[in-house]
Every structure is written in C-alpha cells, then in structure tokens.
Symmetry: C2
C-alpha cells in the first residue's frame, strides 16, 4: 500500500512539473504531438491489435460480460477511428490564452480574463482503450497534464497506446510526463489518485455507476461527472403528433445503452388517448417493454404497471416508463423530482410553453422539439468530449476543450495604486 | 443532534422549493424586494443598533478580540452603507436568462447556452452582520435561494436584519424561504449544512483559516472559497524604480488585514542593491518589520533573517518577507512553490517579460504594474462580491452575480431526430 502511495505521489509530482510546460506550449507544438501520435497509432496497428487480443482472451477467461467485451475489443476500423479522432482534435481551435472582457475601470486599471488550463487532470475509466487516446489528446490540446488510470482488463492495449503517445510527445519536444498511464492495476491506485489535492486539479471518471459513486464519495479532488442519465421527453397537448412520435421513438430506440437515451416518457393528459396507442405500436415493433402509470394503463390496458422505482431507473435497455401528467406543470414537477439533471426535451408547438420549459427545467441540456440523443459533444460542435457533466459548478453538459480550462483575472496597470 | 439535523433538513427542503420560484422571478420583482429591504434597514436602524449593542456587550464579556469586535460593531454609517449596498445591487444587470453562443449545427438543431441560478447556496460566516445583507442580496438578485449561518456572536443583529429581509420578500410577493437565517447557534448546524447534497448546491464560507479548513475537509457539497492570500509583488530588473516603490508600498501598507495584501516582495538580483535601501526607508516610516533572505540581508544588514516558514505565511500584519531572486524565472519559481493562488503582480517596463508573467503565473488574479490591493469585486466592476475564490473550477477570483450562476445547454429543434 505504501508502495502504491509513493508511486502515485511520484506520478503526481511529475505531472505537476510537466503541467507548467504544457500550459505554455504553443498550439503548433501541441498539434505536432497529436499528429505524430495519430501516425504512430496507425504504424503500431498490428501491435495494438495483438495486445488487445491478449486483453480479450483474459477478459473471456475472467468471464467479462458481452457489453464489456464489446467495449474492450479493437479492430482495424476502431484503431483507424482513434487516429482520425486525434486529427479532428488537431483541427479544433486552441482555447488557451484567449483574453476576453477587458474593460477600463474608473481607477484606470484595465481588467480582463485569460483562459488557462486547469493543470493536472486525473482520468479514471473502464474497458474502452480508445478513451486512453481521446482523453490524452483532449488534455494535451487544452494544455493540461494528465494521469490516466484505465481498467485492468485493457492493460495490454493501453500499454501499447501509451507508447504511441510518448513517442508523439518526444518528437514534438514535450516532456513525456504530460501524459502518464498508471501502470499498476492495484485498486488502491484509484483511492490515492482521487485524494492527491496537492498535485491533481480535477478528476474525471468514466464508467459504471458503481465506479462513479465510489469516486464521488471518497474524492478530495473536485470531480467532473455525471452519475447516470434519467432523461425525459414530455409530449405537450400542443404537440405535433407526427413529430412527437418520431422524437419519442428516436430518443428511446436509436441506442439503448447511452446516457442521453430517454428513460421516461411524459405525456399530457389531454393528448394521451390519441397518441399513446400509436406509440405502443411503434415501441412494440422495436421490442420495447412499456411500464405505465395508472392513467397510461387506462389507455394501454396491456401495459405493465410501473412501480415507484421505475421513475428513477436508468434502464439502459429496451424498457420505457410512461407517465400521463397534467400539462407542462405536471411534467416539470415530475422532472424536478426524478430527473438526474442530464437532458430533458419538450415536444410542443406552443411558444410560451416551449420557452417556459426551456427556462424552468434545471438540467444540463434542455431541448425543444428534438431528440435527447443529441446531447453529445460532437452534436453540439465541441469537437471531442471527455464526458458529460451534471455538476452545476464549472463545466455542465458535454465537456470539451473549453471545459478543461479555467479563467484567471488579468489586470493591466501603469503604476496604479489603490487609494 | 437529531433535532439539529431535522431542523437543517427542513430548511434545506424549504430552500429547494423556494429556489424554483426565485429562479424564475422577473428582475423587476427581485429589485423590488431589494429596494424594500433597503428601506426596511433604514427604518429599523434603531432596532438594529440596539440588537448590535447586545451582541457587542456579550462579545466583550466573552473576551472577543479587538479585530472581531470591530467587525461585529455597527453604527449609523455602517447601517446606511448596508442600505446603499442593496441599492447598488438593484442597479446591476441581472445575469439570469442570458442566452449566448447559439449556433446551427450540421444536423439542423440550434445549440446555445442559457445562464441560470445555481439553486440553493449555503453561506457560513463570522461576526460581520453586514454579510447577512450583502450575501442575501447577491443570492436573491442572481435568482438563488440561500441559507445563511452567521456567527453566534452576531445573533441579535442578524435576527433584526433577517426580519427586514423577510419583509422585503413579502412585499415583493416572493416566498420568505428564499432567504433563511439559521436560528440555532449549535455548531452542528454547520456540519449538517455542508453535507446536505440533496438540497444545497454550493457552500461559500467567509471567515478565518480555521473555519475554512474545517469546512473544506468535511464538506460533501462543493465549496467556493479561498483559504488564505499569500500575495506577491515581483520587481523586475526592467522596472521603473519610482513605480516599483509606490506599488510595493501600497500593496503592503494600504491595509494590512486583507487577503489581497502583499505578504512577500520578490526583487530581481540585478536591481536589489539599488531599490532595497530606498524601500527599507519607506517601510520603516510605516513601521513595517522586514524579514529578508540571505541576499536581501547583504543589502539590508539590519533586516531580520527570514526562516523557511516566512515564505508561506499570511501575516495580515505590518510584516513583510523579502526575497532576492534571479529575474522573472526565479520569481515565478518562488510563486509556483509558495503562492496561495490568490494574486500576484509584476512591476516591469519590458513587454515580453510582462506578458510572460501574465501567461505563466497560475493565480486567480495576475497583474502588471498595479497594486495587488486591486483584487476585489468592486475594483473589477462586478458590483458586489460574495467572496474571492482560489478554486480552479467555476468562479475564480472575485465572485459576483455571474459567479453565483451556471449555464445549461439549450437546443432548439423542429422535430429533429438523431440519425
């Protein structure tokens, strides 16, 4: 245990030193590193796939479930996607150094803000080896040093990828400590990382609810995260029926396992008798199990009865809970009580109702007449995303390069002193 | 203890309900409440001063030190200043509801951000009864509900002020639970407040280092804070000597007890023999004790020898540590190691050096040719400030109305679904 502590502390000190260098590196140098990493990933494709095969084999032996194995598995296409992701990040504007809001004050000083990196970012994630590349690239481009702690199930894949990243940093003349991959699979390494307030500025966990809950509970370092996504679509009585059907279907069935998938459909009482039977047919054709409140079941007698727990459940599966509510007021009450603060959408053609929902619903993304599945860094135009945050402080919603930076006040004087 | 827990939980639930109302209150209504509170404070001046006299008497009996008693004491002028502070906040623009960065995406959706209140803010502070008014007003204007926990030494003053606030909320037609003053002086109330993740969105502590350390250690709710202010002025070899002397003197002596006061002066080796003797005369005239490094003492033989602990000390007193460094590089190394991340200033006439210091120093305020004493919400044009933050996430530097809000993503579609 003490060895792990020492090892992690050492990573922390090195990261802190490297952070000063990468914070002040020019965009061209950072882009050079990213380009070289992309080429290295392509060059090392065979080695990456070989290492990944070892991880897959071990994963099967340890009885990992199908979903985890799918996330762990790499193939030529996925390796190519990593390289392309890197080149996309090269093309994104560098947020660091932006100076904004400079104003002259009555005293004569000029006050503004400058965008700067956060410093050292700790990222804790499971299975997907592509996170190693994505996270490293986003941190690097935003001028941060990072410490990456991947799952033990991906250790061989991550090691080869780490070599590619080192090579890119070296060729660009940057310290390799800008991106450090934790080499031990000891679980205590995570416990140490999330308590290293002296050297780590923020922790970003990506993984299952159990991992996030543990980190949230034990961390001393601030955590940017979302715990889960219980997203809602509300169909207002003034909704266009065809539009409502398309959005409700897309939000649930376009992908089941993502955090921005709708888990509960709210339907205005006034429109429920008209739309619910049509929706039932659509969901049945996709094999989605429906669980309804009492009023839903009056319209859809074959629907399973929802229990209280259904309203807080992130199914991540072809299951949908449906509740009939008293207009937008009832919908917002339900959302206020049960939402995880991720994403909610209203379908309505009434302007006042739309704007009211937009203003009053307190979630990281609020939508009008669009599928919750759009809540995503790429769809929002952030380029990459390192995750989605339901925190209220700092980055909220999809977190891209800007979310990995902060601002400091800058003051220009000409010898000004305070009177 | 269980009573306290129940009591605090009840305040939390009420605040959460009130937060939904105040978040959506119009600016005019919020301003109306602030105006009435200001008038009430003026009308109740006699009652406020009477209550304050009780607090002062109890404070003296309990042996509170002079500094605390000074902060606790109200007089006609200070009561008038509270009312004026309220009217200033009325005149500030309301940050809530601002929509920004709306862009059309290739999918057809329009994505932007809307500024919204944080929700429920817990404020924990000591002695100064004016914080009760300031904090309540800033939270109210920014659309937040708040729970105020003042020090037991100010309980009578705070109770009368709380009545004025309630009256203002009532007259404006807002729920009085928008501002709740904790009525028990039991210390466990603080312990409970900082763990109420379900109902409190952020804690802002204002007080001594002991209070802040305890809260930082025990809080489950995010804390916006600064622990202390070890601020630096660096005099570069390219500095204008007269300007450097004026800034170094002002930064230390304009007020000793504030967090933006300089505690350590860094002087470039190349200029130290010229400027230090002149500075010594100036500081001596103000009665400031100097503690110097070895190189400082070669120039100023009468200077006390600084020990290691001096470089991390927030004196809040007429004491100054001085270190001679090897140019801007040496200054930044010292700052990197010893700064509390609050405010640092460089005095130089060299553009490249100024911009390098500005870019590379990682503090909440970085200045060129200006006194650190300018690091303040009023001086920066924020109107009021609820405190200064050295956090890297969210609000950094002086925290005004905008720092008490967050942004959510808003998406406008016309029936868009994800492909």
């Amino acid at each position: 245990m003490n060895d792990i502590k020492d090892y992690m502390q050492q990573l922390g000190r090195r990261a802190k030193t490297a952070a000063r260098v990468i914070a002040n590196a020019e965009s061209g140098v950072k882009n050079k590193a990213l380009d070289v990493i992309a080429s290295e990933i392509e060059l090392q494709q065979a080695a990456i796939l070989e290492a990944n095969a070892l991880d897959m084999q071990a994963g099967k032996e340890h009885g990992l479930d199908e979903a985890l194995l799918d996330r762990l598995e790499l193939n030529e296409e996925r390796v190519q996607a990593m390289a392309e992701g890197l080149r996309q990040i090269v093309s994104l504007p560098d947020p660091v150094g932006e100076i904004s809001h400079v104003n002259a004050r009555p005293s004569g000083i000029k006050v503004g803000q400058m965008r700067v990196p956060l410093g050292v970012i700790g990222i804790i994630y499971e299975s997907r080896p592509n996170v190693t590349v994505d996270a490293a690239a986003l941190c690097l481009k935003s001028g941060n040093a990072c410490i990456l702690r991947g799952g033990s199930e991906a250790k061989h894949s991550n090691q080869v990828i780490a070599t590619c990243i080192s090579q890119g940093l070296k060729v660009a003349g940057l310290p390799t400590e800008v991106v450090q991959v934790v080499e031990t699979t000891d679980r205590n390494a995570v416990g140490e990382l999330i308590r290293m307030e002296e050297s780590v500025d923020v922790i970003i966990p990506r993984g299952g609810k159990g991992l996030i809950e543990r980190i949230t509970k034990e961390a001393r370092v601030p955590v940017i995260k979302h715990l889960h996504g219980v997203c809602h679509v509300y169909i207002d009585d003034k909704a266009d029926i065809e539009m409502a059907k398309a959005i409700a279907l897309n939000a649930k069935t376009q992908r089941y396992g993502t955090c921005n998938t709708m888990e509960t459909l709210l339907v205005s009482d006034a429109i429920s008798a008209e739309i619910l039977p049509e929706l039932e047919v659509l969901y049945q054709s996709k094999g989605v199990e429906l669980r309804g409140c009492e009023r839903t079941r009056r319209v859809l007698p074959n629907c399973v009865a929802a229990v209280d727990a259904d309203w807080d459940e992130e199914y991540l599966a072809p299951i949908l809970s449906i509740r009939v509510v008293d207009g937008v007021e009832g919908a917002m009450d339900h959302i206020h009580q049960h939402s995880s603060g991720h994403t909610e959408s209203i379908v309505t053609s009434d302007h006042a109702t739309a704007m009211r929902f937009m203003r009053e619903v307190d979630s990281s993304s609020v939508m009008v007449n669009a599928s919750t599945r759009f809540a995503d860094g790429f769809e929002y135009g952030l380029g990459g995303e390192i995750g989605i945050s339901t925190n209220k402080l700092h980055a909220r919603g999809p977190v891209g390069l800007v979310g990995l930076t902060t601002q400091k006040y800058i003051v220009f004087g000409e010898g000004h002193i305070r009177q």
